[in-house]
């Protein structure tokens, strides 16, 4: 294949309120990194290089919106990007940051910053899509690397990526994993959006719901499953809210 004459899309990575793990693990794509760079020009990536650019074909955004300056910055990036993609649970659904929304905002601010709280304005944690248009979301904490590659390939081929909308249970069954419930644990797999190849249950861990819930989650039935398997209703709700506070805290039964 000739690549000399090809104009490669300009790609940038940005981070907001997050641990920066989702972007960092892009650098772990060692085996594929050179092949990827055949197709794209990375023009801005604070964790890996100093360069900056004015405009982007694809901007990948990690982290949630949680301060007024985040809002300004994401508007600015959106204006300069043809396509904007949210990467990882913080960006796609507020992630664990959104647990702060379960408490009064002033209380949270005081707990974290103490006497200096007036220096640090804060907002409830929000996914990127609460502020600007997001063209595609890659879920997970951290985001799934195979899914990132799949989405990137689809975009480069000019196709709309397919968003998975079936539960993690499906992937456990395809891999013939013993059900985590049969190991005596409780698991959010039955209502959590798959696409991660059931990586946690495959390695003996239960699903924590990091990829968000499927599009029509039967939350009451899920709470019943969890309590039937031995945890309290309060604990069951906390499990669901760990990653899903932004989308689902209002709709869980009191």
């Amino acid at each position: 294949m000739t690549t000399e004459a090809k104009i490669k899309p300009k790609v940038a990575f940005f981070d907001f309120t997050s641990c920066e793990g989702c972007q960092l693990n892009k650098l772990n794509l060692e085996n594929d990194l050179l092949d990827i760079l055949e197709h794209i020009d990375i023009v801005e990536f604070r964790e890996a290089m100093d360069d900056k650019a004015e405009e982007y074909d694809i901007a990948f955004i990690e982290g949630s919106i949680s301060t007024p300056s985040c809002v300004e910055r994401i508007h600015d990036i959106r204006r300069r990007s043809k396509m904007l993609i949210a990467l990882g649970a913080c960006a796609t659904q507020g992630g664990i940051n959104a647990m702060k929304n379960l408490h009064p905002i002033e209380e949270v601010r005081e707990t974290v910053y103490g006497d200096d709280k007036y220096l640090f304005p804060t907002l409830p944690a929000m996914p990127i899509s609460a502020i600007v248009k997001v063209d595609y979301k890659i879920d997970g904490c951290p985001m799934s690397m195979p899914e990132f590659l799949k989405v990137l390939k689809s975009l480069l081929a000019g196709q709309e990526p397919i968003k998975p909308d079936s539960a993690v249970c499906v992937e456990c069954k395809l891999k013939e994993n013993e059900c985590v419930f049969d190991k005596g644990m409780v698991c959010l797999g039955p209502i959590t959006r798959g696409g991660c190849d059931a990586i946690c249950p495959s390695f003996g861990q239960f699903c924590t719901g990091c990829r968000g819930l499927i599009s029509n989650p039967n939350k009451n039935a899920m709470l019943e499953i969890l309590t039937e398997h031995g945890i309290s209703l309060d604990e069951a709700k906390k499990r669901i809210l760990l990653f899903n506070s932004y989308d689902h805290s209002q709709s869980l039964p009191k």
């Binding site: 294949m1 480069l156 395809l174 013939e176 029509n216 039967n218 039935a221 039937e228």
Partner: protein, 351 residues
């Protein structure tokens, strides 16, 4: 029918004898409390006394994931994969799972024969083993007697010392040929085993129930407990629906067309271009799932397409039972369409 006695101690050498003739697949322990069919490496790790495997032997003929073909955009070409012609021996299959394979044979050979399934299905021998029904098995209610040997080449019926080996077919005769460590069959009476789990009506009365089942109350009721995870579809030995997806390599020039198991309880299953979904609600999906097992295919073939393995119920984290659903349909049928109560379980008992 020729019969032999195979004692427990002789089992590993029997498995070694089979391994000389082909690849042997048998149940193994998996995880804390489960079992799965695996290729036999060590005869001592085979477990013939098991309740059920997570997946049935279906996975060897219709793999959970497979490449259908590889393609190249550069020269607009595609290439199908080839199949290894190996002799496969499935050891330790329960009668309901054997019946499920025969049902899939029907599904995949009618209309447009499904080449991949039929290729993989070639050169397969089946050695059945008896089982003790647990609280989930109900295969007898759907017309599969405990010791049904249809489809098997050899059948092992457990007795106090090991197994009575029944040679069912000529193929079975050849499989055991040369293995001289079996003795003459002892006249050991096998225990009379009862199924704990039963459908209320015998299977041949179910068509009349399913004539009236469309608007039954049970669908809404069961959907309150259901989360739509699809487990019941995916563990079912007679479910065969799949999805097909094209995946590009990083070259963006070549790729593969892949297929994987799908299920009618899942969100994307009945969604079509334009965003329409023909079965939006979990109640509609449950109704569809159960009708696929007891009505749609059954109206054509005259037999239930459920084999009573109990997997959908045993592995449902929400505790939804297909037997309870069907029994409630029978109740609703009696209440709404029959003036007098039916003689409960008469036919089922007599089977």
């Amino acid at each position: 029918m020729k019969k032999y006695q195979l004692n427990n101690k002789q089992l590993p050498s029997f498995i070694d004898h089979l391994k000389k003739q082909g690849t042997v697949f048998a149940p193994h322990k998996k995880g804390d409390t489960s079992y799965s069919f695996e290729k036999v490496e060590n005869p001592n790790s085979v477990v013939l006394d098991y309740n059920r495997t997570l997946n049935s032997v279906k996975k060897y003929f219709l793999p959970p994931r497979e490449h259908l073909l590889s393609f190249s955009k550069t020269d607009n070409s595609f290439r199908k994969g080839s199949f290894k012609n190996e002799k496969k021996i499935f050891l330790g299959v329960h009668s309901y799972d054997m019946k499920a394979v025969l049902k899939l044979d029907y599904n995949f050979s009618q209309g447009n024969p499904e080449e991949n399934y039929l290729q993989r299905r070639k050169d397969s021998s089946f050695i059945g083993v008896s089982f003790i029904p647990d609280e989930f098995h109900f295969s007898q209610s759907v017309g599969i007697p405990l010791h049904d040997t249809e489809g098997f080449d050899i059948y092992l019926e457990q007795n106090s010392d090991g197994y009575t080996v029944k040679i069912i077919t000529e193929k079975g005769e050849k499989l055991i040929d040369g293995f001289d460590r079996v003795s003459k069959a002892k006249d050991i009476s096998s225990n009379h085993v009862q199924f704990q789990n039963k459908l209320k009506y015998n299977y041949n009365r179910l068509p009349e129930v399913f004539e009236q089942s469309w608007n039954a109350a049970v669908w809404e009721e069961v959907s309150k407990k259901c989360v739509g995870c699809g487990t019941c579809n995916l563990v079912c030995p007679t479910c065969y629906c799949f999805d097909v997806e094209d995946n590009l390599d990083l070259s963006l020039q070549t790729g593969t067309r892949d297929r994987s198991w799908d299920g009618c309880m899942l969100n994307g299953f009945a969604a079509v271009a334009g965003g329409e979904n023909f079965r939006e609600t979990l109640a509609e999906r449950q109704r569809h799932r159960v009708h696929r097992k007891f009505k749609y295919i059954s109206d054509i073939t005259g037999e239930p397409w459920c084999v009573g393995c109990g997997r959908c119920t045993a592995y449902c984290t929400a505790g939804i039972s297909i037997v309870e659903i069907v029994n409630q349909l029978c109740d609703e049928y009696e209440q709404n369409y029959l003036n007098r109560p039916a003689v409960v379980g008469l036919n089922a008992e007599r089977l």
